[in-house]
Each structure stands twice: as C-alpha cells, then as structure tokens.
Symmetry: C2
Subunit: 558 residues, 2 copies
C-alpha cells in the first residue's frame, strides 16, 4: 500500500469560525490551512436582520454559515496547494456539541423557511445556548425519581447544553416548530448530510450529548413520555437509532457538495465527530493510560479505557465515543485560560497590551518557588464542571498579604487550575482507570510554558505536547483517511492513522521531584478547601444566595 | 473666666514628621499649623553616617530630630500668627508609642555619647521596631506560666512593640548599653522632660505599653526576675512608679526650652500622651457609648467605660489611660487604608495616578447594591490585631467569577474592614460595654465617603466625623489648656475643654435600614469564615507554614 501524494481534508467547526486543513496522508504533514469566520457568528442579541430580540441565555447560529465556511475553506486549501482533487481521498469534520437544529425530512433547516424564520426556535441552538435549564432540571429530576441507571454515566447530572434539553425547549416554547421538525439533528451530522445526501448519526454526540449507549441505546419511551406526552417518541419520530462509530464512512461527496467544495463527486466522507474528542488521536493517544487535555479558555479532558466504570463527576463515558473499541471518559474544567485572562483584564483596566501583560506575569510567576507566594486559590471562577458538576461555585483566593504581588496571584491561579486537574486524575485512578501521563493540545500549551511545567510538577506526571496547533482539524483529516480505507490509500483504523499521521512536539515537561512534597501539601490544602466549600451549607453557597436575592431586588421591571 | 485671645500649642510627633498647631482656647479654632520632617526619618537600613547596618525588623529614630521638629514647628506657628507668647498659656504633646530610648540620669540620650553612638541599641526604638519578638515571646510565656492576672487586660498577649520587650532586647543584646542607661523612657516623656527639666511618666503609655495599672502598678519583681536576673529591678532602677494622668501639668517651660521654642519661660506643659488616645476628646468623645476610630493605613479603636472588664482580643484596658476617671479600651485593625492601597497598587503596576484610581474604584464600588458583588473578604492582609491578635493570619477573597470587576473587589475589601470593625463592636458589647455610635477621625474619613457609609450600614450605627483633620495635635492643645487650668484662661478638665474646643464635622452617616438584612447575612458568612480560618489547624495556617518552609529553602546563605 502506498499513500504517497494522497491527502485528506479535515474541517473543524468552532464557535466563531471554521478551519480546514489539507493533510498529507502518508506523513500527517499539514499542507495548507484556511479559516472562515461565520457571517452571523454567535447570535445572542437578536435574530439577523433586526429580528426578534433574544433572552439572556440564548445562543444561536445560522446553518448556512456552516456551508459558506465549508465551501470557502475547502476550496481555499485546494487552491493554495494546487492539488489534484482526485488525490484527495477523503474528508472529515468535527464540530462544537451539542449544537443542534430542526430540519425537514429533506434536511432543509427550518430557519430557511420564510414563515418559520422569525421564530428563534427554528435556528441552530449553539452548544452554549443555556436557556433550556428548566428542561435540564426536569430531565434530571425525572431520571433521578425513576432511578434510571444511565444517569451514572453522566456524573448523575445532565446539562442544559445537551440534546434533549434543547429539543424539549422547542416543544415547550414553540410546539409548532417542534411539529414541523421532521428531524432534530446535531449540526455535525447535518453538515455530513449536506456533503453526502445521506443522514447519519455519530456515536460521539449521541453518547456524550444524547444519553445513548452502545449497550442500551437511548433511554426508554416511558422516560421521554414522563417529560412530556408529545415527547414520548422523539427518538423514533425525529432522530435515529442507527448510530455510526468514528472512522466509519458516512457516504460519498454528492454532486451538490462537489459544486460547493471543489472536491470530486464520490470522495469518501467520514462520520462526524466532536472537536475535543477528535483531538485525542491527533495527540497520538489511541490506547489507555494517558489523559488528553484540550486546553484553551476552558479545558476538556479525555481518557481511554477498556473497562466501563462509573467515575463520579465526569461528563460522560461512551463506548466507541472516541476510539472504536474503547470507552472514552470525558471531564472538564469550566474556566482555565479564561481565569488567567480575567486577571490580566482586571490589571489592564486602563488599556495596554494583554499579550505583553500575560508574558510579564508569567515571567514574574516563574521566578517564585513552589509555596513561596503563600497563596492557594480555588479555580471556580466559572463554577466547577468536574468533579463537582456545580455551576454555582465561585472562585476563592487565600493567603494574601500586603506583600502579595500580581505575579504571585497569577501563579496561584495557574496552580489552582492544575490542582483542579489533579482532582480529575485522582478520581479516575480511584475508579480504576490509570493515568500515567498527560498529553496536551489546544492553544494554551503553546502560550504558557509555566503552566505546562506546573502541570507536570503538581500532577507528578510527564506532560507531552501534541505537535499540531490545530489538533481537531488534523484529527478530522485522520478520520477521513480511515473512512477512505487502505484501498484508496488511507488506513484500516484510527490507530494506524494516528501512528502515521500524528506526532508529539519536542517540548516535554517532566515532574521536578524536589517540588513534590510542597505541592502535595498545597494540594491537600486545596482539596480540604474544595471539599469544605462544595459542602451543602458552605459560606460560598450562602454568599451566592445572598447575591441572587440582591440581584432580584435590583432588577427594575420593564 | 475669660479665655478670649488665649491659645495653646499641641505638637503631634508622628512616624515621619511632627506637626504643631496653635489653637484658640475659647473656640478650638486652629490658628496656624506647621510640619517638620525628621532629618533621619525612620532608620531601618543603617545608622546615620554610614553606621552599622540594621537587621530586617529594626526601626530606630534620632531623638535630636524630635527637638529640631519641636523648635521649628512651635516657632513657625508663633511667627505665622504673630501671637504674643504670653498669650500662649500651655503646650501639650502626643507621640507614637511605644517609642522608647535609653538616657542618662540627666536625660542625655545614649546615642548622643560618641563612644555609644555606633551601637544601634543606644538609639530610639520606634514603635514599629519588631526585632524584640523573642523577648515578647518570653514575656508572654512567663506571664502565662505564672498565671499573671494582668495578662487579661491585654487580650492575653503582649506585643513585641511594647516597652519591656524593647528594654529586655537591650539587656539581651547590648548589656553594656543597658548598664549605662540610667533611665529607660518613652520618647513622649523624654520630650516633656526636655521642655520642663522634670522627668514625668504618663499613664497612657505606662498602661497601654508598659503593663502598668492604676490599681496594681507594674508587674511584680519576681516576674521581671523570671525574665532575666539583671532585669528584676528594671522599674525601680530605670523607670518610675510615679505615673501622671493626662491633663496634669508636667512642669513649666525651662530656659533652655524657651530658647528652643520661643515660648515664655514658665509656660505650663501637659503630661505627654499617645497620638490615637489624645484624638478621643478631640473627636468630642469624653463619655462612654462611642467607639472612636482613628482611621488611616491601619485603624486604632478606642472606647470609654466606667467599668473594668476583660474584653477578649483587645490591645489593652487602662484606667485614666484616655480620660481621667474612665477606663479606656483599645483595639486595632492592622491594615485598613493599607489594604485599599495594596489593591490600587496591584492595578497600577504600569504606573498612573493612584489618587485617580482610588476615586474611580470608589465610584464603581458605590454603584453596587449590598450583596450584588457576590464577594466576601477576610480583611487580614496584615494579620488580625483585634479580636484574634494573630499576625500569621492572611487575606482571603471568596466569590470571584469571570464577571467580577475591580470595583467589586474594591467594595469587598472596604466591606471586609467594616466587618472587622463589627467584630470589635460586638466583642465590646458582649463584654458589657455598649457602643451606640462611631466617631471617626484620621485621614481615611475625608478620603473615602463610601467607606463611611458602609461603616454605618454594616455596624448599624451612626458614624460621625471629627471636624479637625489634625485631631491628635488638637487633642494635645486641649490637654495643654487643661494643664494651664482656669486660672490662666484654660479649663478645669478635659471634658470641659472638649465641649469648648472640639467639634464634629457636618458629615454624618446614618445606617440605611434597608441594607441591614443583607449585611447581617454577609456578616454571618464573614464571621463563620473568620472563626474557621482562625482555627488551630485551618488551611490558612497550614498554608502559612508551607510558605515559611519554602522561604527557608530559598534563602541563600551569605
């Protein structure tokens, strides 16, 4: 088998833009990259064209922005390299999730239909649409009271960001839209449908966002009926029980899609995937033992195992969710880079370069010895996702004196996020899933070397950095090579693709043994605070309820 | 009795400078003010003239700076007004304390004697000289093990800043200096000695800094002997058991002092006093029921009562210590304005006007409703003086989110210092000493109106502001009028002087009833955190010991 001269395309659909990368299948070398910002971006104020104003927690997108981005970025990477489209043996995509929309049986988005367009519920609900909290609460209460076993797989709490909360919000608030929706579908699967003309559903979003498991399928009809009578058959009426694994071939490029992208008709298209999850093989990880951290404004953690365990406070465990044949465990930290940015913005209130400020803070912080600052923080500036699954928790800084400087606070914030990572690792290990190393990708590892060294020192594990700065798009291109298969010059499995196409960078951070005793002490102080403040009647919780009452009193009725 | 045209001088000896004010005895009107900075300021690096380098916790002064300041400021206020010195019927002074020095039997400072001058122990030990901690520890342990009852009067812990710790440090480290010191004396009393030629000792420094009480005098000989054999007779050998109350006449201006100051020979001189304590009558307070807060970088609290009570965590209770005939209770907060300045300096790391920054932060903070920030802080950036008497405690901020702004943090810091004041008020009331109002003076009340309103809202008590911006100097001038007495055109008591010479300003801050429930809730959260973190094995204490170990490891041996 020779793959010389063959390439695949991976397209990563992010929150503000999409990025395509054209990758040499034999080596994983990235031949060209193109980025396209969505014209309407995140729609959270009012619908495009002075449409209806949106309530505070809403976040929508325009599905046609995805097609514009798809066409323009794929055409751009083809044009930049001058590659013969017949040498492009596959395309794969990954997406934010759960990002979902209502469409007709032909796949036409309801927001494209003039009489439905003014209704916000006809648009794409972006992952960070948080207006379905009442529906999420109902889902949690119902599953809890019924004793549904699947709740264990999700840390015993599902999120308002997920599929059924969003779907149920459509039924609750816009029953006419719900009735017109022949299909409710992840945007990831919808884009693949637009590429192939064939509707497929991927196991990653089904498992992590729609309560599906390979073993048990979706929750039973009685569960959905308990949520709402008209919701009883949501799966059979508007979704599908036919779920495909990552790396499977969803179909072939259609004539319409060829016209849109410049790819040849008949080019294989991989089943869709989620941005964080597709990064795992792109970071060289295809077997148990590593914790992959996709680090940016927030961090998503993924670990593989050949055993099915209940891990408290994790976002989900899905068989075939990341790598076929393995269980993928997902955890998260709700604010990481966002916390460091918050502090820099506090300091830079009178202007100045944030980048330079971050560098200067990192320099100051790096001069300190572990423990020297006398500070410990709880990294809950945006609540705690894992392992407490509690958005109401808040940040805390302890140990300040008149001698405390900005570099010391910055270092305490960095350390606190790694203490948070350590709770995730220890929880995995207590559940019988070993973690021997961290492999990191995303933007943060390239911006903050101190954070990487602290990650090694505080977790006591080596930290390796994926070489690619666009791991999701590379991962999608790798799955495209698997969808193409060996017969077209691709690979037989994602494991093989990862071995050939993914690499670690030269940077490797080894734990400094001499720092272990101090960090063990600091972590134990962090963990005590963590457990105390997460308690049911902690001062932190009382404070939050005082704040909520104060806010209600200051709201002026319109 | 007529006092028309009669004036007195008050001189306030601060840390960096001295300030004289010439005051109309009939009205309290301030006729002229003069300030003189000490040439050597605070001596904390090396002795003047490239003398011996000093260890980190040392802080000395040159007693001749006091005489220079005394002469130049008194001459300046006389010259500016052109007053006939015969119309100046008295002079009084107040001082930082405990600020003490070794002198000969003639009152000559040992540091003025050439062969002793190179020894740092021959100089004045300023109040913030903290190098006598081992001696303070020994004093506390000795009193504790002996079961000395007087320890109750000082919150069961004495400070390294106080008289006997400093005196014992001289004996420990420089026995030759100790032997040469015929007298060990507060700088306040030494300056009065220089004015009158007569050695006196004032009850305020004796009571608050030298363990003296009107009832029991000094600790017994066995106590001092237990500290060190050569220390057994320190009181009888080098001090005096003849203690004068505030407002008594110490003596009359000598010929030398007349030459120095321009005052007439024979002008009455009041017994010396302490800056914070002399502010009480200057803030119109001469009876029980008010808490006087002298607010600046730190805050000193003083309350009067006609009963003698043990108040946990107070700095001291002294009969006749503030107003003759009453018990004066002293408490303190170690960082107040210093905490706000710390935050402004963190923000202004790249320069900019601190004053403008404070104003802008105060504006932003004032827009918030109580509880709206979702933040609570522990005001321990410089440890906790009252009611915990623990310098090892540190600051804490709880409730931060990505939406938290600088104005919210600033308000939380302001509120935290008032929560600290509320613990002091509640402790007083639990001990049976009622507090119906706060009367404030010092620099902060004129700089931060929001802090004043918060003080009223959080304590639930009216806050009134002394009119004078130089309350200590005014207070000294008032005691000078008492030392002069009615026969010379002064007053028969400090109560009478206060009624005639002291005034409140127009600003008065009344508690806003509607904020009480929220502040009661926030205070209860603060108090729970306060009690938890002050506990013997709190995370805050563990963190401090981690920091201490880390610092020891990073010290490079010289």
């Amino acid at each position: 088998m020779s793959v010389a001269g063959k390439a695949t395309v991976g397209v990563d659909f992010g929150t503000e833009s999409a990025r395509a990368v054209l990758v040499d299948v034999g080596t994983g070398r990235e031949l060209a990259t193109a980025v396209h910002r969505y014209a309407s971006g995140v729609i959270d104020q009012r619908l495009p064209g002075d449409g209806a104003p949106l309530a505070p927690d809403w976040a929508l997108q325009d599905p046609d922005d995805y097609l514009d981005a798809l066409g323009s970025t794929v055409r751009a990477v083809l044009a930049e390299t001058g590659i013969d489209p017949s040498d492009v043996i596959g395309i794969g995509i990954d997406f934010t999730a759960c990002t979902m929309l209502p469409v007709t049986s032909e796949g036409i988005p309801l927001c494209r239909i003039p009489e439905l367009r003014p209704d916000p519920h006809s648009w794409v609900k972006l992952w960070k649409h948080h207006a379905a909290q009442p529906e999420a609460d109902l889902i949690n209460e119902t599953a809890e009271s019924r004793g549904d076993a699947w709740l264990d797989r999700y840390g015993r709490r599902t999120s308002s960001e997920w599929f059924f909360a969003k779907a149920l919000q459509i039924l609750d608030e816009a029953p006419a839209i719900y009735a017109r929706a022949d299909r409710l579908i992840e945007a990831a699967d919808w884009v693949v449908w637009q590429l192939t003309g064939v509707e497929t559903r991927n196991s990653c979003t089904a498992g992590y966002k729609a309560l599906w498991s390979k073993q048990d399928g979706f929750p039973d009809r009685a569960f959905f009926e308990a949520l709402a009578a008209d919701f009883a058959d949501v799966v059979d009426e508007k979704m599908s029980r036919d779920i495909s694994s990552p790396g499977e071939r969803a179909g072939l490029i259609s004539a319409d899609a060829a016209a849109l992208t410049g790819l040849n008709v008949g080019t294989p298209v991989a089943v869709a995937n989620v941005d964080a999850h597709v990064s795992v093989p792109a970071a060289t990880v295809v077997t148990p033992g590593s914790l992959v951290a996709v680090m940016g404004t927030s961090t998503c953690h993924l670990a593989l195992a050949d055993v099915d365990r209940v891990v408290p406070g994790f976002c989900g465990v899905v068989e075939d969710g990341v790598i076929p044949g393995l269980f993928g465990y997902e955890a998260g930290q709700a604010a990481v880079g966002d916390m460091f940015a918050w502090f820099a913005e506090i300091l830079a209130r009178d202007g100045g370069s944030l980048d330079e400020l971050h560098r200067s803070l990192e320099r100051d912080a790096a001069l300190l010895e572990p423990g020297e600052s006398g500070l410990v923080a709880l990294d809950w500036w945006n609540g705690n996702r894992s392992i407490l699954v509690d958005a109401e928790l808040t940040g805390l800084l302890m140990g300040a004196t008149l001698a405390t400087g900005p570099g010391e606070i910055y270092r305490a914030l960095l350390e606190s996020t790694v203490f948070g990572t350590r709770t995730i690792i220890e929880t995995l290990e207590e559940s019988g899933i070993g973690v021997d190393e961290m492999v990191v990708c995303g933007g943060l590892p390239f911006q903050n070397r101190l954070l990487m060294q602290l990650s090694a020192d505080i977790t006591g594990r080596p930290v390796r950095v994926a070489e690619s700065r666009q791991a999701p798009a590379l991962g999608s291109a790798m799955f495209a090579a698997v969808a193409a298969g060996p017969e077209l010059g691709g690979y037989g499995s994602i494991v093989e693709a990862s071995e050939r196409m993914a690499r670690l960078g030269e940077d490797e951070y080894l734990p400094n043994e001499s720092t272990q005793p101090v960090y063990d002490d600091l972590y134990s102080i962090y963990k005590d605070l963590h457990d105390t403040m997460a308690g049911p009647s902690s001062g932190m919780r009382k404070l939050r309820s005082v704040q909520e009452r104060a806010r209600k009193q200051t709201v002026v009725p319109v």
